[in-house]
């Protein structure tokens, strides 16, 4: 493991293999909470936070499962862990960092069932990442989500004022926009910095 490989992981998570635009994970909050830039950024920040934490904890759980020879139970175990973790974090924040708690607001519990969070935990296992790589992949994956939802919200705010045909108003045009941004992100695929 070197700095280069961490850089490669980060770059991959944020741009080339963006969780939303190339892996299509976490689409639900991406569409649901992207009407306004500030709420979108709030959601993105919460996702980043939880993805980082979930990667770290799920790494531990995965080694436990490996020890027991129960790797096929990953998905179930990870869902359990993530749900408990989000609850725990919410309680902790409410008690000790109420400002962050109010800033994240309703988004924190929403993330419990976010497939990007579960996705990052499963991908960590698939890619055989070690602890540090897992955490880096989690956080940068979250940052990629943040970037995606921010860009999308900015476009959607402008779409509100645009003269869209009746049949395309609302979600249809938003989905078309998402597709176009995803196409644009395909351009990053030439940017692979794989370590030798």
């Amino acid at each position: 493991m070197s700095i280069t490989s961490l850089l490669a992981i980060s770059l991959g998570a944020i741009l080339t293999n963006n969780f939303i635009f190339s892996q299509f994970l976490g689409i639900c909050p991406f569409l649901g909470v992207s009407k306004k830039i500030d709420t979108a950024v709030g959601m993105g920040a919460a996702v980043t936070f939880v993805m980082g934490l979930a990667s770290a904890v799920c790494y531990g759980i995965n080694s436990l499962l490996k020890l027991a020879g129960l790797e096929y139970m990953q998905t179930v175990a990870f869902i359990l862990v993530i749900a408990a973790l989000v609850q725990f974090v919410e309680m902790f924040l409410k008690r000790y960092i109420p400002t962050l708690y109010t800033a994240l607001g309703v988004y924190l519990p929403l993330i419990t069932t976010n497939c990007a969070v579960l996705g990052v935990a499963l991908l960590n296992v698939q890619n055989n990442y070690n602890f540090i790589e897992s955490v880096v992949y989690g956080i940068t994956g979250g940052l990629g989500f943040l970037l995606a939802i921010f860009l999308f919200a900015a476009v959607r705010e402008q779409l509100e004022f645009s003269d869209t045909p009746k049949a395309f108003e609302g979600f249809p045009i938003a989905l078309v926009t998402a597709g176009l941004i995803a196409l644009a992100f395909m351009g990053f695929s030439g940017l692979q910095v794989w370590p030798q």
Binding site: M73, L80, V81, A84, Q87
Partner: protein, 293 residues
Amino acid sequence: MNIVYAVALLGVLAAVFGLILAVAGKVFEVQTDPRLSQIQACLAGANCGGCGYPGCAGCAEAILAGKAPVTACAPVGAEGAAKIAAIMGLEATAGERMVAHVACNGGIHAGKNFTYRGVQDCLAATKVCGGDVNGCRYGCFGFGTCVSACKFDAIHINENGVAEVDKEKCTDCGACRAACPRKLIAEVPYKQKVFVNCANRDRGPGVVKVCTDSCIGCGLCERTCKLDAIHVVDNVAVIDCDKCRNCTMCAKVCPRNAIEPIPTEEERERFKAAQKAAAERAAAKKAAAEAAE
């Protein structure tokens, strides 16, 4: 055998997490003010948003923080405000009870320019041909957008085809006022009994053409009122509720039935006779005074 391991491991994991959460729930418990739930219990619970806060919970929080007065919840009235004041340890300084009132009695009295068969909603109707469904450009459509906005079943379309507020049920939450696209609904004191039920700001001849029960801005009421409580503003009479004492003289003198309560013919005759007698008395007095000089 494997399945036993799997069940056991996940069971243990779940139990451990459950335990951690239970302990965390106790350790990280945040003390909320017990008054918060008490105050919320005193509020109307309709989440009408009339107070300007996000729902009743938001209102309770604002009252607790001292940002909103104890009277913030109009629907529960003075009684509820007193309860909340008791919880907060304050004296209730309840304001006068206010209710909504629809300032139009047109409906069947106003003609129709065309038959509107679109969505039965006032806002939708305003979008069709400049909203000229009624002959009157200011009057009530009677499609009941306010009726559906009311959470307290306090506003209905009456037999004249105009929205009418049930004073007893009205809580002055403001939902109908916000819903009416013609801004016909006003906030008036509960004890007010006299209203100008017309909002047409056109000049007299134009108004006569579109509605039989309408204010033409003739100013007869203004001259009759002894309390300076009614004035013609923008071609329509407006009552100053602070000055009005509900004597109904303006209603009796109105030639166009525009002021509620609309008098019966008999009342109108009697009032005219009384006015005439008073004028004669005054003239006689004046003559006597002049003779004495």
